[in-house]
């Protein structure tokens, strides 16, 4: 299975945030527990955590907010014992939305920490 095929099955769950916030929610912490379990099972894998924001903020601030969201997700995973050298972070601000309509159902999907597997 290629990396692309592996990622297309989305084995790692995204983590969602409230507007303008980077605090992890209970659902998010639970998702990170599952993701940590997966990474403990597949010990050679590496991941990149992308921090994403919805369009209601400004592009400039959102780039930093995405960085902070990705860092919050990474820090929680490291706290669960995942090695730092397996985890990279990157903010994509509001530049790469998963959903492009302008309503909360869409915005809430865009405020996320998104996982990409970068090595098997």
């Amino acid at each position: 299975m290629s990396l692309e095929e592996l990622n297309s099955t989305s084995p790692l769950d995204p983590v969602f945030f409230e507007l303008d916030q980077s605090e992890l929610l209970p659902d998010g912490r639970a998702a990170l527990q599952r993701n940590a379990d997966w990474m403990r099972q597949w010990t050679s894998t590496r991941i990149s955590i992308e921090g994403h924001c919805d369009e209601r903020g400004t592009n400039e601030y959102n780039l930093a907010l995405g960085e902070r969201r990705a860092a919050a997700v990474r820090d929680y995973l490291l706290g669960l014992g995942i090695a730092a050298n397996r985890v990279a972070t990157v903010s994509r601000g509001e530049e790469s939305p998963f959903c492009t309509d302008s309503h909360e159902g869409c915005w809430s999907r865009n405020r996320r920490g998104h996982f990409i597997i970068t090595a098997k």
Partner: protein, 456 residues
Amino acid sequence: MTITTPRFVLGAGLVASLALLIGAAPAAQNRQRDEVSLIIGDRIGSPPSFAVPDCLALSPDETTAEAARIIAQVLWDDLDFEREFRMIARDVYRTIPTARSLIDLPFDQWRELGADGVVSCTVESAGANQIEITARLFSVRSLESAWGVVYSGTMNNLRRYAHQLSDELHRHQRGLEGVARSRIAFVSDRDSDTVLGLVENRPVKEIYLADYDGANQRRVTVSRVLNLFPSWSPDGRSIAYTSYLTGFPDVIVSHMFEGRMSKPADGTTAVHNSLPAFSPDGSQIAFNTNRDDNNDVWVANVDGTSVRRLTNNPAIDTSPTWSPNGQQIAFVSDRSGAPQVYVIGADGTGLRRLTYESYCDRPTWSPAPYNEIAYSSRTGPGHDIKVLELATNEVRQLTFGLGSNESPSYSPNGRHVAFTSTRGSGMKQIYTIGRDGNGLRRLTSVGNNEMPAWSK
């Protein structure tokens, strides 16, 4: 294209013969007196009315005729932009007979139309792809020529001649530094046949350039990744921007005229840099970085040396902009709980909070003589452009809730602001507006266009 410098500005001999031809009072006998005495518009409280009819085509070919029309139209638009003159609409000129020569104008008809000044111009083919343009500004009342230039060069960018005419006319008549030859860098997804990435479609955004009026839009970067937040060097020879070329955001400086790029903020997979802003002397770049796992504003020399911290707070500090004298930097911090505009000395001392609103971002310090900061402010579901006058702490609003309005950037003379707006279709487009909130113009229409940066 090169524009030759004017070979003469209304030589004394020409003024004299011109005065004879149109039977006017003896005109000024030298250029010096001419410039001082012939400022058109002495009606108290109202700007002088100007007309710019099509130039006379002195060569019979279709290309010259087209050039004669384009140059007059662009010059009219340029003069209209600064609103120093009341521009008489060109479609009412039809009733007025064509000038018989550069200096033989139907002045009586222009006076009836209410014109105080008429720009008369001729265009002549000067060999293969070469053109010569002569322009004069006449006072309709005194029938004297107030100003004149001759340009010659290639036909490649006719609009450029009109822009130079406008800038020189503004300087001569109003002492104003026009912006007709300035350019705006911006970000667009128009060529984004989205790149299929590992999981989702990865949108591509590239840096583009346009003339100040939106003409001549062209792509600068071809990297097929995200490229964001362009910023001009003061000499207009370099653009710094945020690029995901390595997969991670880093500051790239594109030295356009030297054909090379540099990365002064020295990004890595772990150190991410964004939102570069050139210092007014062009030697330094302020930027946002996540160094030390904390979003702060840092400063580096453009050559990548002397990378140093400016702000130090666990909150997000980003969006730096320099004061015109380079001694202060305004930036955005959410240390109060929401993003607000702060100012700090370039030496890291003298921190002060400037805004107390719900959510502010992208401060942009005006050039002198104005001393104000434009920024975006959340005013409802979206954002509006506001301006903070630093001397008085007064805030004025330039946009009012039509779409979301973000990322302001001042024109080099400080009289206009470019910004992004979703008004209308919901797509992001670049607009310009006067610093008084009047004179809105849209510059773009293809794809989404955002993050304008007006050249210095």
